[in-house]
């Protein structure tokens, strides 16, 4: 047991009266400070129940719950909940209270003074990207779904809790708004560093939001808990493999950023003012079939095949074929793959911010990355097994 867990569940169990099998069966789990842990699993696996056990919206029938190593299994649940932010899919804004009053709910119960509450409300509205001047006095019925969910998050952050529980918070929102809210939330989280337990049934959302993902089976049994990268690279069993779905290996490329850690192959390049003969010499030296033609400011322009260079003549902006597969430094390998597929090339040009040539990524490299990720993940699990 590590001592720095922010949230620790120790053999927590929930058994409902009159049902034979427990809804949550002996769950042990740790969430370190500042982490987003995503609980994900098929519907009915008990992930929501698990979440609600943490703030004791549902009382556990066994085991213990620790926050900051303090046993909170039997403390007053109302006081406990005021320390924990809670966001649910239906949001549950109080329709008869203004946005400001909604956000002030917990600070008011904690008896903050008025000025501090007002300041906090405005601050939180700004954090979630709503103009306090405009929204403070509005009622929930005047908000769109996305705005309401922002207010829901702001309200949960009301008294600056260190822990947030989020139950499918973006589930009822259209895909475009959801994507935006997810990004904004991750941006906010970068500065706030809350400890978050996040429930979803959507594996893609889990991959996007989670520092770690716990894939839950029936009765909240943890089937695999790890970083998204490792889960994608090495699903431990068929259940997890089925759940994360096909194409999971490719999804792993989302986590690889094109930067200097990426193996960028040099490629023979020539500029528009060089001659065909010079280009041919470069290609021969590099055993390449193509030469990359750059413009005056070193931006990739055309792929020129060796046979065209052999034919001699001037190399112009019309020679060869256009460079279509281009990604910027900082993009993901997945984007590079996408570029290669749409331009049916096995190579993508990597360009710097000003558009100038930096290097190339090859399909074979992506292949290697995937295989390496799988190998590392497998070795990681083998080590774990050996230790156990």
């Amino acid at each position: 047991m590590s001592q720095d867990a922010k949230i620790r569940l120790d053999h927590v169990q929930k058994k409902y009266l009159g049902s034979k099998a427990p809804a949550v069966d002996s769950l042990t789990l740790e969430v370190p400070e500042g982490e987003i842990l995503v609980l994900v699993g098929p519907s009915g696996c008990g992930k929501s129940t698990t979440l609600r056990l943490i703030n004791r919206m549902i009382e556990p029938t066994g085991g213990r719950i620790f926050l900051d190593e303090e046993d909170v299994t039997t403390v007053d649940p109302d006081h406990l909940r005021r320390r924990i932010g809670y966001v649910i899919q239906q949001i549950g804004l109080f329709p008869h209270q203004t946005i400001a009053q909604n956000i002030a709910t917990v600070p008011k119960m904690l008896k903050w003074d008025k000025a501090r509450i007002a300041e906090r409300v405005d601050e939180l509205l700004s954090v979630v990207g709503l103009d306090p001047e405009v929204y403070r006095g509005r009622y929930p019925s005047e908000l769109s779904g996305g705005q309401a969910q922002r207010v829901g998050v702001a309200r949960a952050l009301g008294a600056d809790p260190e822990i947030m529980l989020m139950d499918e918070p973006f589930g009822a929102i259209d895909p475009i708004t959801r994507d935006r809210l997810q990004n904004e939330f991750l941006r906010v989280q970068e500065t706030l560093r809350k400890t978050i337990v996040f429930v979803t049934h959507d594996i893609d959302e889990a991959i996007k939001m989670g520092d770690r993902i716990a894939i839950l089976g029936e009765q909240s049994h943890i089937r695999q808990i790890d970083t998204p990268e490792r889960i994608l690279a090495f699903p431990v069993d068929d259940f997890v493999r089925d759940f994360i779905g096909s194409g999971s290996t490719l999804k792993g490329l989302h986590f690889e950023i094109v930067d200097d850690n990426v193996e960028l192959d040099p490629y023979p390049t020539m500029t528009v003012d060089s001659t065909a003969a010079e280009g041919l010499a470069l290609a021969r030296a590099a055993h390449a079939d193509w030469v990359l033609l750059l413009d005056a400011s070193h931006r990739p322009l055309r792929w020129v095949p060796v046979d065209e260079l052999e034919a001699g003549g001037p190399v112009t902006a019309e020679s060869g074929t256009e460079v279509l597969a281009k990604v910027s430094l900082g993009a993901t390998l997945f984007q590079a793959l996408e570029q290669m597929l749409v331009s049916s090339a096995a190579v993508a040009c990597v360009v710097r911010e000003d558009g100038s040539y930096h290097g190339v990524v090859r399909l074979t490299y992506l292949n290697r990355v995937i295989r390496q990720a799988r190998r590392e993940a497998r070795e990681h699990y083998e080590r774990l097994e050996a230790m156990a």
Binding site: D78, R82, Y139, S141, A148
Partner: protein, 287 residues
């Protein structure tokens, strides 16, 4: 409350008010409103009542007043002049009438709302549907019979009338309190509990304010029932404007009958309008 909210459907209730206005749909604020055709939105917005009602009531009162004057009581026969004397008959009867209606309505509120709250709390919750079902069939209870039965038990007088009326008008307020509390979105309560509100805080700060429109509608129904029932108070010596109607019936004087009945109608319509005003202005903002 004519719309079948899920809560009402659950409680087996289909709602009644004496209210011709449109039900206010309480769309969950968190989800997009389901697409609603334009004519329905327009129909919801139309509230003929609040502004035109006072004009109608005043017009009716003017008509009755004109008719009353045209009777020329000073020179008409005693069968008409005596029961229609304003200072000694009609005005005291109106006061009596309103006194009965007022006290029974106050008592109904005092009894029915706490009872309704108790019946929606976990320990008693399971009795809710049964009580609402009984309350619904209770509408067939004849006020007339109820009054006489209470007369035989409690004797003549105002107290008997008020007790009978309270029992009779209890049901709408009780039912609406339960339905109103039950109709509060589960997610709103869940959010309140999740933020660490106590059950009492959730009840007083969230559930009750949100149920206010429905409860008020019930109180308004109870008030109108009470004003109507007070018309029968004369049967057991409770006075009220029913006396004039009864005299008109007994003496077969249409003028007395019409004036007595019209004043009762004007009183009822006036208070119904006041009830509608209260419903509009006491409703929490944002709902």
């Amino acid at each position: 409350m004519s719309q079948l909210t899920p809560a009402q459907a659950r409680l087996g209730d289909h709602g009644t008010t004496t209210d011709g206005r449109e039900p206010e749909g309480s769309l969950p604020p968190d989800l997009e409103a389901p697409h609603e055709p334009g004519w329905l939105t327009r129909a919801r917005r139309k509230h003929l009542g609040l502004k035109t009602a006072p004009l109608g009531i005043l017009g009716l009162a003017g008509l009755v007043f004109w008719y009353y004057q045209s009777l020329n009581l000073a020179e008409s026969k005693v069968q008409i002049a005596s029961p229609l004397a304003w200072g000694t008959k009609l005005w005291p009867q109106t006061v009596e009438h309103l006194t009965i209606a007022f006290w029974s309505t106050v008592l109904v509120v005092v009894v029915a709302i706490p009872l309704g709250i108790a019946l929606t709390r976990p320990p008693l919750r399971r009795f809710g549907p049964t009580i609402v079902a009984v309350a619904n069939s209770g509408q067939a209870l004849p006020a007339y019979g109820l009054l006489i039965l209470f007369l035989s038990m409690l004797g003549q007088g105002l107290r008997t009338v008020v007790v009978a009326l309270v029992l009779y008008a209890l049901l709408p307020v009780l039912r609406n309190t339960m339905v109103g509390l039950d109709a509060v979105e589960r997610s709103v309560i869940e959010a309140g509990r999740g933020m660490g509100m106590t059950r009492w805080q959730v009840l007083t700060r969230i559930e009750l304010p949100l149920a206010v429109p429905v409860i008020l509608a019930g109180v308004r129904v109870a008030m109108i029932l009470n004003i109507g029932m007070a018309t029968l108070a004369y049967l057991i010596g409770g006075g009220g404007l029913g006396v004039t109607i009864a005299v008109g019936l007994k003496l077969q004087q249409d003028a007395v009958l019409v004036i007595g009945a019209s004043i009762v109608a004007i009183v009822a319509l006036t208070f119904d309008w006041l009830g509608a005003l209260a419903e509009t202005y006491l409703r929490p903002k944002g709902v």
